[in-house]
């Protein structure tokens, strides 16, 4: 069996199995929403450190879970129940910082941090001093490199002492 054929068979198999995975996951019955638990996860246990009401084994958290369940059973809305605890414990009790108000920035800043990073990598790429090498030469060299690499399989030598990186980084 030629390598090309093997490759195609593998591709087909991958696609088929991927189909099974995607269809299986998509057809999963929606999980029973456990409102009380979800709410407890959004509230911080007042007598513990950094643990939500849902996780904590403490007396206080147990009592709060009870209260949440009662209020859910009474048909109160999520906002009402959360508001009930905020009124008692202050903003501090919100384990899940709201996207807005005082905690808006905590959500905004991390994605912003991505921008300089991506820009730096893209700029690095553009500064390629490659103008004097034609595309054909490049492709030929790349093909040859790949052939060599395939023959010996790729190297696992990620670093070897005594070899100058500057020399490595030289012209193609």
């Amino acid at each position: 069996m030629s390598d090309r054929l093997t490759g195609r068979l593998i591709a087909v198999a991958i696609a088929a199995l991927l189909g099974v995975v995607v269809v299986g996951l998509a057809s999963a019955p929606p999980a029973e929403p456990d409102r009380a638990h979800a709410l407890a996860e959004r509230l911080r246990c007042p007598t513990c450190d950094s643990v939500s009401v849902a996780e904590s084994p403490s007396e206080t958290a147990r009592a709060m879970r009870q209260t949440i369940e009662e209020q859910v059973a009474d048909g109160r809305s999520d906002e009402d129940i959360i508001g009930y605890f905020v009124a008692r414990y202050g903003e501090w009790v919100l384990h899940d910082p709201p996207v807005g108000g005082r905690t808006l920035l905590v959500w905004v800043l991390p994605p912003l941090a991505l921008i300089p990073g991506v820009l730096a990598i893209l700029r690095r790429r553009r500064q390629l001093p490659a103008a004097d090498v034609s595309d054909e030469v490049r492709a030929a060299v790349a093909a040859e490199l790949a052939r060599c690499a395939d023959e010996a399989e790729w190297s696992d030598a990620e670093w070897s002492p005594g070899r100058s990186p500057r020399a490595d980084a030289g012209e193609l």
Partner: protein, 662 residues
């Protein structure tokens, strides 16, 4: 007497540190033979002083010398031996002594590598000396562990109950400190490289082993801490995104980034300035971590002690940041080279992605951790940033990292042709997706679990495939197959150590996803002799007990755990009353089976009825296994690198692939 010896040790170490800074600074300038010759003795003096100080503190604890304020506050004559030893780092002053000792050890290790006419090494020692001056200066002033009290109490209260509840607590801090302090070495060399203007990669090459060592210890320390939290705190979790946990994760993230980007610099001459910045950041984050832990700025489970050293640490942190990045801003051009990235689809491209993601991960955790402090400082209002924030922001980053971890090692340097990549990726991808399909068909419908399983299986398969190929290539010669299988990781410890760490991370990722998604909790009430089911298990109350264990009185229940009529174990979850604390502490009992943990906590204990919370977590133990595998991979890379020096000729197979391409 002991106090006097201890203080003398601190002063001795301080003198050694000051001498090291002076000798290093002079040796850095020119070719003063005297200064250069003084380096090693000064490092020796530092180490000797640190050993004396630590020894004196341990002696005071072991001999129940309550004339020391530290012993009187943190020790009791009834504390068991292991926890008595560990009490030396259970409170602030002692933990600084341990820090100082580890730092002195690393400094001595670096001093042994400094040769004649080695300005880079001399500068690094001067920087390490400066850091040591800070720590031993603290010990000599604001956090003196050898303060004597009068009158001498007959006994002390003993350490914080949570700290004497599990043997892991004796292990976690030293491991963590070995990691934290180890990252002083790359910082010292990076600063020295900036000062000297070391345009090559010498500073990186010289720190590589130290970085790996520090990383391995930090990894093991974090895992030990998580395990302790699971075994002791009784909430079934292991990571709460507590500010102090985050403080240990931050340098781990940047340290991991540094280990990877160092490879790019050594192999491809890229990222020189970035590596310097990462080395400074990692060190600064270890100081930030200690500041957060020890200053009481954030009330947290780890802030057992609050003291006035907060401002001192903050000042040191600012000095490190301003000094380090000031030097970086003015002199980075001396170490930086022209960036060359031929294609993002290449090994170095994957490394860049890895660095981008790890840095983003660190920045996100840093923002989430510090945000409440800044809000409170600005508005006086206390807000919380808890698990929902960290899970939602970091889990996607972690998934992409996992993907990069799988694909990266398969890509060739410089340029990855689609054909070549497909050739290498297709089998692992096939096996990974097949594993996902099997899970879905078996009824697992949780997207996160299936995704992680696919990635982890693909990563493992790729690793095995590479191992088989490398072994076969080696076995073609006179070496037989089994010998080749042993030789392959020996000949290229850097690569295979890294792969082992990747395997560990993949295993840990599976454990995190599975135990997080399929954990169950049930509450059962048992009368004497009564039984109740929990999943496939049956719990029977065999009786209750009250046991005087010296430092504590344990009130607990003996629970027989059975499955299919067979008794697996007797669990003894308890509520412990410590002599030095009013609030009793619940301690879970954990049984680890092949497929799941059964985790039992007493929620109420009557004379004839016991209420238990029974949690079951599938494959939780894989998290510890994976974590320690990751740490072992780092150690393999360090250890192998040593012997590799004598086996240059052996690197034939390993080098041919890339060698022919260059």
């Amino acid at each position: 007497m002991i106090a006097w010896i201890g203080s003398a040790g601190v002063l001795l170490a301080l003198a050694g540190a000051v001498g090291l800074v002076a000798a290093g600074a002079v040796a850095l300038r020119g070719s003063s033979t005297l200064a250069r010759r003084a380096l090693r003795p000064m490092a020796g003096l530092l180490l000797a002083g640190a050993i004396v100080a630590m020894g004196a503190l341990e002696a005071a604890l072991l001999l129940d010398d309550f004339s020391l304020a530290y012993t009187a506050r943190n020790h009791s004559s009834q504390t068991p031996l292991l926890f008595t030893i560990a009490t030396a780092w259970a409170a602030l002053e002692g933990s600084i002594v341990l820090w100082g000792l580890v730092l002195a050890g690393f400094t001595w290790g670096v001093a042994r590598t400094v040769g004649p006419d080695d300005r880079l090494g001399a500068g690094a020692l001067a920087v390490m000396g400066l850091v040591a001056v800070f720590f031993f200066g603290i010990m000599a002033s604001v956090a003196d562990p050898f303060v004597v009290i009068d009158p001498v109490p007959a006994d002390g209260p003993g350490p914080n109950p949570l700290l004497q509840n599990h043997p892991l607590m004796a292990l976690h801090p030293p491991l963590l400190y070995l990691g934290f302090v180890g990252f002083t070495v790359p910082f010292a060399f990076a600063i020295s490289a900036l000062v000297v203007g070391d345009a090559g990669s010498r500073w990186l090459a010289r720190t590589r082993r130290w970085n790996l060592l520090a990383w391995s210890f930090l990894t093991a320390g974090i895992v030990a801490g998580a395990w302790w939290s699971y075994e002791v705190l009784g909430w079934g979790g292991y990571w709460a995104w507590d500010p102090v946990e985050n403080a240990s994760l931050l340098p781990w993230l940047t340290g991991t980034a540094l280990i990877h980007s160092a490879v790019v610099q050594t192999r491809r001459g890229m990222l020189q300035a970035w590596n310097v910045a990462l080395a400074i950041a990692t060190f600064a984050l270890t100081i930030l971590g200690t500041f957060l832990t020890r200053s009481g700025v954030i009330a947290s489970v780890h802030s057992f002690t609050e003291s006035h050293i907060g401002p001192v640490f903050l000042a040191f942190l600012v000095a490190v940041l301003v000094g380090g990045y000031g030097l970086f801003a003015t002199r980075a051009h001396l170490v930086a080279g022209a960036p060359r990235l031929e294609s993002l689809a290449s090994r170095e491209g994957a490394f860049l992605l890895n660095n981008l993601l790890l840095t983003l991960f660190a920045v996100t955790v840093l923002i989430g951790t510090l945000y409440p402090i800044f809000v409170e400082a600005a508005s006086g209002v206390q807000v919380s940033v808890g698990r929902p924030f960290f899970d939602r922001t970091t889990v996607p980053i972690a998934l992409v990292l996992l993907l990069a971890m799988g694909v990266g090692p398969l890509l060739p340097y410089r340029l990855a042709r689609a054909g070549v990549v497909w050739q290498r990726v297709r089998i692992p991808l096939l096996v990974g997706i097949a594993a996902g399909a099997v899970l879905v068909l078996a009824g697992v419908r949780t997207t996160g679990v299936v995704l992680v399983a696919i990635l982890a299986t693909a990563i493992t398969t790729a690793m095995l495939r590479q191992f088989v190929i490398s072994t076969r290539a080696l076995a073609k010669g006179p070496t037989n197959r089994w010998r080749a299988a042993w030789e392959v990781p020996r000949r290229n410890p850097g690569y295979w150590g890294g792969q082992l760490s990747h395997l560990g991370i993949a295993v840990a990722a599976v454990a995190i996803a599975v135990s997080g998604s399929f954990g169950t909790i049930t509450s059962v009430s048992l009368d004497a002799g009564g039984s109740a089911p929990a999943g496939p298990y049956t719990l029977t109350l065999a009786g209750t007990f009250e046991r005087d264990e010296g430092n504590r009185i344990a009130h607990g229940a003996a629970i027989e755990l059975r499955r299919d009529g067979r008794t697996l174990t007797v669990l003894e979850p308890a509520i412990n009353e410590y002599r030095n604390q009013v609030q009793p502490i619940g301690t879970p009992a954990v049984w680890t089976g092949l497929t799941q943990d059964v985790y039992v906590v007493v929620s109420s204990l009557g004379s004839d009825q016991v209420t238990l919370e029974v949690r079951r977590f599938p494959f939780k133990y894989l998290l510890w296994v994976g974590g320690f595998l990751a740490a072992a991979g780092g150690l393999w890379a360090v250890w192998g690198r040593r012997s590799a020096r004598h086996a240059d000729a052996a690197a034939v197979v390993a080098d041919t692939g890339e060698g022919s391409g260059e």
